[in-house]
């Protein structure tokens, strides 16, 4: 053989062996919330100190997560760890591994376990617990002379008048985003069903319930009217980023439909801002103005993963290791789904934790319907805001969509 051919052969052998050695366990983690990528990476770094032979490939996507996940599932490239909403537990059941007997499951708050159980098996891991309500600028409230937090529509209206008198725009609502609408709707669904929405949602999905039977639900549209009346101009152009930067730059006093995930963005705009957190009034009863708290998303583990033992080890480290407690509280800045967890280092966690401990909170009613329905819901309320449809037309379309897309 000539020298040149020998060199090529050697190179090919090196390449081939390189490919062979690359077979050591790689865990593919398809995550969402790209703002938490630093938390994911430090978790991986901490794990690699314990298990250096495992590579964890994390990919975090926000906008098109459902589409990309479907592409991966259908092309055989199923990730080892992926995420879905709590309401979609049954949807991914074919792909989810049974976790009932894993040690870390015992570490999760027992109240959440039923939400991730399907046909008697635990097939999801709660990602975190989120809180949602009205985040407000304490200084703006003080400047306007608002001393008591508004708990009814009348009080909220009066508070907004005081803010306007001081030249402060009361609200920024990210009405360009479809999910803001479902977050605000949670409060009204819980108020209408005394915080037990599951049967009512099931009735709506079956076409047996109607908005007119629940006067509390109709007040959702009154809230939308109020948010528009006291909100920024061109509300349908305000997306999530515009909303949090409006609060951070003191252009508005309050934002709605947001929670723990939003604080980091606001504080990034003004690190000196003092934030308060309160429930959303749902009518004339002050006891029905609460914050929403609970888990919203669950990780699923690919049942057919080639690295199942390695993935389970990683999960045990992630959810079962006391050294890792700061991942939830400081890393992803949310409430942990684990037992006996510390409070996250968020300004808005302080008022929230008191309410959570008293049980004076509302649940994530939106978990009981699919995101497909909620996206349609958001579009329809946008039609209401832009006056393309009347309130009754929107309600009729919502009821139809609930039957068809509710999941």
């Amino acid at each position: 053989m000539t020298g040149k051919r020998k060199a090529v052969l050697v190179l090919m052998i090196i390449l081939a062996s390189g490919l062979l050695f690359a077979q050591s366990a790689t865990i593919k983690w398809f995550a969402f919330s790209p703002e938490a990528i630093d938390a994911y990476n430090s978790l991986i770094a901490a794990y690699q100190k314990v298990e250096p032979n495992v590579t964890i490939d994390v990919e975090a996507v926000q906008g098109d997560y459902p589409t990309q996940l479907k592409l991966k599932l259908n092309s055989g490239d199923t990730p080892d760890i992926f995420v879905g909403t709590m309401g979609e537990i049954a949807l991914f059941a074919e792909y989810s591994a049974d976790l009932t007997k894993e040690p870390f499951i015992k570490n999760i708050l027992p109240s959440i376990i039923p939400d991730v159980t399907y046909q008697g098996k635990v097939i999801g891991i709660p990602v975190k617990q989120d809180i949602e309500g009205i985040i407000y600028d304490k200084k703006a409230f003080a400047d306007a002379g608002i001393t008591a937090l508004p708990k009814t529509f009348k009080e909220l209206d009066a508070a907004c008048q005081k803010l306007k008198a001081k030249g402060i725009t009361p609200f920024a609502s990210g009405f360009k985003e479809w999910w803001v609408y479902k977050h605000v709707f949670n409060h009204f669904m819980d108020a209408a069903t005394n915080n037990s929405p599951s049967k009512t949602v099931a009735d709506f999905k079956a076409g047996k319930a109607h908005f007119k039977d629940y006067p509390a639900l109709m007040r959702y549209f009154d809230m939308i009217d109020l948010l528009i009346k006291y909100g920024t101009p061109r509300p349908l152009e305000v997306d999530f980023n515009a909303e949090i930067s409006a609060l951070g730059s003191h252009k508005v006093a309050m934002i709605t439909g947001q929670g723990n995930w939003a604080e980091a963005g606001v504080v990034a705009v003004d690190p000196a801002i003092q934030l308060g957190f309160m429930g959303l009034p749902t009518g004339d009863d002050p006891s029905q103005s609460r914050i929403v708290a609970g888990p919203g998303h669950a990780w699923r583990i690919n049942k057919d993963s080639k690295n199942l033992p390695a993935v389970m080890k990683f999960l045990n480290f992630w959810y079962n290791n006391p050294d890792n407690a700061t991942y939830f509280t400081d890393g992803i800045k949310a409430f942990s789904p684990l037992k006996n967890a510390p409070t996250p280092k968020l300004q808005i966690a302080v008022p929230a934790i008191a309410a959570i401990n008293k049980g004076d909170v509302y649940t994530w009613a939106s978990n009981y319907s699919s995101d497909a329905f909620h996206q349609r819901f958001g579009e329809l309320v946008q039609d209401y805001i832009s006056k393309a449809k009347t309130r009754q037309q929107v309600i009729d379309e919502i009821e139809k969509a609930w039957m068809k897309l509710g999941g």
Partner: protein, 300 residues
Amino acid sequence: MEGRGMKTLGTRRYTILVFLLFILPAVVTIVYAFYIPFVMNIFYAFTQWNGIQKQPSFNGLDNFKEIVREDNRFGASAIFTLKFGVLYIVIVNALSLLLAVLLDKKLLTRNALRAAFYLPNILSLVIVGFTWKFIFTLGFDFLGGATHLKVFDLSWLGDRHLAFYSILFVSIWQSIGFYTVIYIAGLQSIPGDILEAATIDGASPWTRFLRVTFPMLMPSVTSCFFFSLISSVRLFDVIVSLTGGGPGRATASVTYDIYTEAFSNNRYGYATAKTLIFFVVILAISIVQVRAFKGREVEV
């Protein structure tokens, strides 16, 4: 070679065989990546599948029945696409033809202008969409504060009617260079002596354009009309980055409606049925358009 024992191919059959072997890789790729999925799609149109279950379930003509009877969003998106298509094709062709005529004259800055008009076309549509979203929202906020002109206070992306024009404008802005280039090439291929002959015969510049230039430009017009028809029908990237189909579905084109049906609503089978209907309509329009234009071409 004829005296040998082995069978030899005739020259003609040999040529054909070599020809087929050369195009084989391309044919295999196209069949695998295009025709096979197309046939599979026809199968999926008759199923109910959410894109996640491992087995789609057959449901006969239910999808098509639902499209015809109940789907008013599909109808609305079809009307949007039609309105957009007509306006886009007419405006982009008229403007780019005008630009081509102007840039064909001997201006000093001709090359720089040609480059400037073509530049938006090399930008990715998604970048274009996000840049213009920034201009329409924050940019206009600033300009409105600086100039106090009413036009900057309007909700260009939040108002149902204005959002349509925003999308139309951005699409035209991005693609006009492409058509201008084609028309310039067409203009330059017209033999100068015919135009001179027309001038000598007493034709005014407008008559010259209408009776000589335009008929000889017909091949370019056919191409540009065809391209702009395809572009307008394929409208998607600009919608996703500029308005997300909003507000409230007002700017959803047929492609966007199908995409959300498949991937947001988890109704892959139903969306595929819509795609089939869309395909048949576009095929019919294309055939009609090409036939109508081919007949009017003038060759020298």
